[in-house]
């Protein structure tokens, strides 16, 4: 490991390698790609939330001049519903049915057919000529309704406790004996909560361009993983993976929502059928209607504590909407909800419930914010009931090294306590509040992830370096990779170029997601660079005619290990590179690995709100986020992740929600009606980085990007309670809801 004293680049806010391209408009996003002969693909979507497809007649559309291809699910490989086909954490049975309905449409917006034509306008006209005969079925949108005995059943093959059901899965963790635990408690608080689905809200709509020639396909698209794109395209079309080259375009935000495909396999089939390159791009409305929000939920959380503030038992049940097909992120609340605390008796339970909404996709720490919202609001009430400061209560119960989490692991060295202490000591926590202002705190946890990564590090003839990794860069990972490589080699980071390889040039690399890239990719890059350093030492040894063991690498130079090794002038990386051909050939190394040891991350947030009692608007006026990140390779982008995640959480708490009309159709499918935070809605968000290095990583990295969206929901709710004395048990805490609650309180006071 690099010794702390001479660290040069790790921890420095270097200028990102892609900065100039992004501020000049040169960076190429998926929608920017064009090709000669390119035609346009468009998707026909179901108007019904639930219907059987009796027949689809595409003949009129096919006959329209300018139309080059029409497709339906009949053009995809069929995956029988009773045999799982896993790819990563997804299942191709559901993926293929999600992007093109088979037999039934399951949500309004569900694709039923697609067309490619010479212009977008002709493609749109052709969609209108496709005749779909639907048998409209009863539908269910609400998670509680979906579990009632007489609820319309979405999937005949799904059974729960022996009966046809919309409950597609269950996850349960038990530690100790909760009943015995609650019996010891002096204070027991149990509450129910509700959250609505919220969208990831990346500003770049999904887009792709696919060309097929001589049976070989090239796919340019915006995704969080080119290997995922290749794999899913191969599964759905039956093409072998070596015939698909997936090229990652710059990605305009993903937050989990681009860890699956929507357009690429459709465009691929249209390109195969038409023989022309096919471009597809979604409108914002399509993004809202048919790509993944995260689950809405109902939940119940119960916490019991003794008078001295020791939590003795905790219980939580979460029912999460999966949308049309199974796959709600129940692991999030069930595993993460109580993870910040050392509690002897815990029982958590989660249900994956299908209903006639668009299928959910991952969203930043999937499910964990929903868990923390309920747990951290109840924690606030427990603190109040006991008369203990809410951070003090968290500190007294903080999970630490050796704590057994209910979901299984015994924590190694973790930094939760440090986040709470830092929050308690921060001036924000003691700053005076103005009228109608309130302060709330909350904590949160995310598992983080490792997995497969590949890297190639090449030394160029002039001594500069090219690093290729296989992970799309969403949040500045190229900058952190450059920092790490420069650090290890002991050279200026500007001499290092970092590229994202497509599927034909770099080995398999798993998705950018789960806060895994800087963690896992840094391991592959580190191992590759170490091998390069060994080669550089061997070459120097050869030039000097000494034993490679007698050479050390220091500050970007090879030096003899000591006096005994001989008296030679150090050789710089550039000097060795210049002689590479005569000393054994090009210098480079590539490593592929499956990273394990991604340790979890914790955060604690302090939020101040000010409520306008006339308008019902709660505004966040001060926000400070404390997070253990292990090691900040590039602090500015670590802070950026924390600020961005907190902002998304604030939006979730205050305004964002999917609203459905009485026909089961999404009613607010635009940025006009789905209100994400704009600049004037937010204050500066102070990010306080805490570094408790992950002992299992060469640079000490833990994931960063997921944790910051976990605490805000409860932090905001607790702050609003502090300001108004009113607790809100459902999100979002939007102006109409706050106004109604204020009016009700006034009414009660008047009576």
């Amino acid at each position: 490991m690099t010794s702390e004293s001479n660290v040069k680049w790790i921890g420095k806010n270097t200028i990102r390698p892609d900065g100039a391209d992004k501020v000049t408009g040169r960076a190429a996003y998926a929608a920017d790609a064009t090709m000669p002969g390119m035609i346009w693909g468009k998707i026909l979507r179901s108007p019904h939330p639930h219907a059987r497809i009796r027949s689809i007649d595409t003949s009129k559309a096919e006959a329209l001049p300018g139309v080059k291809a029409v497709m339906t699910s009949a053009d995809f490989v069929e995956f029988p519903v009773d045999t799982p086909v896993p790819i990563g954490i997804q299942d191709m049975r559901w993926m293929s049915r999600n992007i093109m309905a088979r037999d039934k449409v399951l949500f309004a917006g569900h694709p039923v057919a697609a067309v490619a034509a010479t212009t977008e306008k002709i493609a749109e006209q052709a969609l209108e000529l496709i005749e779909v005969d639907y048998e409209v079925l009863p539908w269910v949108i609400d998670v509680e309704e979906a579990m009632k005995p007489d609820a319309p059943i979405l999937h005949d093959h799904i059974r729960f406790e022996g009966k046809p059901s919309n409950i597609a899965g269950k996850l349960e963790h038990t530690l100790g004996d909760v009943e015995a635990g609650f019996a010891q408690a002096d204070v027991v608080i149990e509450r129910s909560f509700r959250t609505e689905p919220v969208h990831q809200g990346y500003i770049e709509p999904h887009a792709c361009l696919v060309s097929v020639s001589d049976g070989k396909a090239t796919v340019w698209s915006s995704s969080q993983g080119q290997f995922m794109v290749r794999g899913m395209c191969a599964h759905m079309t039956g093409l072998p993976q070596n015939d698909i080259r997936a090229i990652p375009a710059e990605i305009g935000g993903g937050f989990g929502g681009k860890t699956i495909v929507y357009l690429e396999p459709v465009a691929l089939v249209l390109a195969m059928k038409s023989g022309r390159p096919v471009k597809m791009q979604m409108t914002r409305e399509e993004v809202f209607r048919a790509t993944g929000p995260t689950s809405g939920s109902v939940s119940k959380v119960k916490i019991g504590a003794t008078k001295d503030g020791k939590i003795v038992a905790a219980e939580g049940t979460w029912w999460l909407q999966a949308g049309a097909l199974p796959g709600a992120p129940i692991r999030g609340p069930v595993g993460c909800g109580f993870a910040p605390y050392d509690i002897p008796n815990v029982h958590t339970l989660g249900f994956d419930v299908v209903c006639n909404r668009s299928k959910v996709a991952a969203y930043r720490a999937p499910g964990s914010p929903i868990g923390a919202y309920a747990v951290e609001c109840v924690m606030d009430e427990v603190a109040e009931a006991l008369g203990i400061d809410p951070l003090e209560l968290r500190l007294r119960n903080a999970a630490k090294e050796g704590t057994k989490a209910a979901y299984g692991p015994v924590f190694p060295r973790i930094g939760y306590e440090e986040t709470v202490r830092a929050a308690m000591e921060h001036p924000h926590y003691r700053a005076p509040l103005g009228p109608n202002q309130g302060r709330g705190v909350a904590s949160g946890y995310w598992f983080n992830a490792g997995g497969e990564s590949s890297a190639q590090v090449n030394i160029n003839e002039d001594g500069s370096v090219v690093v290729i990794t296989g992970h799309p860069d969403i949040g500045g990972s190229r900058a952190s990779t450059a920092n790490i490589t420069a650090e290890l080699l002991g050279i200026d980071y500007r001499k290092v170029s970092v590229l994202i390889g497509d599927t034909s040039v770099i080995g398999f690399s798993n998705l950018t997601g789960g806060s895994r890239v800087t963690y896992a990719s840094a391991m592959a890059v580190t191992e590759s660079t170490r091998e390069v350093i060994n080669t550089l030492k061997a070459r120097a040894a050869k030039i000097w005619g000494i034993d490679p063991e007698a050479v050390i690498w220091e500050n970007g130079e090879a030096r003899p290990a000591g006096e005994n090794a001989g008296n030679f002038e150090p050789l710089t990386l550039a000097e060795i590179a210049a002689k590479a051909n005569s000393t054994g050939g090009p210098i480079g190394a590539g490593k592929q690995l499956n990273a394990v040891g991604a340790e979890g991350g914790f955060g604690t947030h302090i939020c101040d709100v000010e409520v306008d009692r006339e308008l019902g608007i709660a505004r966040v006026v001060r926000y400070t986020a404390f997070q253990d990140v292990g090691r900040a390779i590039h602090p500015a982008y670590v802070e950026g992740q924390i600020q961005g995640g907190a902002a998304q959480g604030i939006g979730w708490a205050l305004n964002e929600e999917y609203i459905y009309d009485k026909n089961g159709k999404l009613d607010n499918a635009s940025f006009l009606d789905y209100r994400m935070p704009v600049c004037s809605d937010l204050p500066m968000i102070e990010a306080v980085i805490i570094e408790v290095p992950n002992p299992k990583h060469p640079q000490g990295v833990r994931g960063v990007g997921e944790v910051p969206i976990v605490p805000p929901l409860a932090a905001v709710a607790n702050a609003i309670y502090n300001a108004l004395g009113i607790r809100f048990y459902s999100l979002p805490m939007s102006p109409p809801k706050i106004l109604a609650a204020l009016e009700q309180t006034e009414r009660l006071a008047a009576e």
């Binding site: 806010n13 200028i15 990102r16 892609d18 900065g19 100039a20 391209d21 992004k22 501020v23 000049t24 408009g25 040169r26 960076a27 190429a28 996003y29 929608a31 920017d32 064009t34 990831q200 809200g201 990346y202 500003i203 770049e204 709509p205 710059e250 990605i251 305009g252 935000g253 993903g254 937050f255 409108t283 914002r284 409305e285 969403i474 949040g475 500045g476 500015a636 982008y637 802070e639 950026g640 992740q641 600020q643 961005g644 995640g645 907190a646 902002a647 998304q648 635009s670 940025f671 006009l672 994400m676 704009v678 600049c679 004037s680 937010l682 500066m684 968000i685």
Partner: protein
């Protein structure tokens, strides 16, 4: 099809377009200036902001034919050769971007603010940016970048 002529990034351009062609489509599809992005269908996101006769304008709210005879600047026209505009430099320096998709629109909006106000306060910047959405950054570094960029513009 009507013919439309305008000056884009200092060059006169002219093309036959469908009357309903939006300025943003004209820039992206006819001229290949893909730095101007499209993020929404309802004129909320601001990813498409360009300057029309010096005023920042959402290029998705204007027809190409409405820009007849006007002087249009896109993100590609801001730098002088390799020398970044001070606002571009400020975004790069102050890490005012993550995915970068909102960045061209943010910068074009910010440049107009910088022209009007040499030292905008945090509040003025936040207010000015109401028509530009960023989902990645929480705006923190964007606000810092714009305050610094506006100062650099007047230096």
């Amino acid at each position: 099809m009507p013919t439309v002529s305008m000056t884009v990034n200092g060059k006169s351009v002219s093309a036959d377009v469908e009357p309903r062609t939006l300025l943003v489509q004209f820039l992206r599809e006819n001229l290949g200036l893909t730095g101007t992005h499209v993020g929404c269908d309802t004129s909320q996101c601001g990813a498409c902001v360009v300057h029309v006769d010096g005023r920042s304008t959402k290029a998705c709210t204007m027809l190409a034919v409405q820009a007849e005879g006007k002087n249009v600047t896109t993100i590609e026209g801001l730098a002088k050769g390799d020398e970044l505009h001070p606002m571009q430099e400020a975004f790069r320096e102050h890490h005012g971007l993550q995915c970068g998709f909102c960045t061209p629109g943010m910068i074009m909006s910010a440049v107009e603010l910088g022209m009007r106000n040499k030292e905008p306060t945090e509040e003025e910047v936040r207010h000015w940016l109401e028509g530009n959405i960023c989902r990645c950054t929480g705006y923190h570094n964007i606000v810092k970048a714009i305050m610094a960029g506006a100062r650099a513009m007047s230096a």
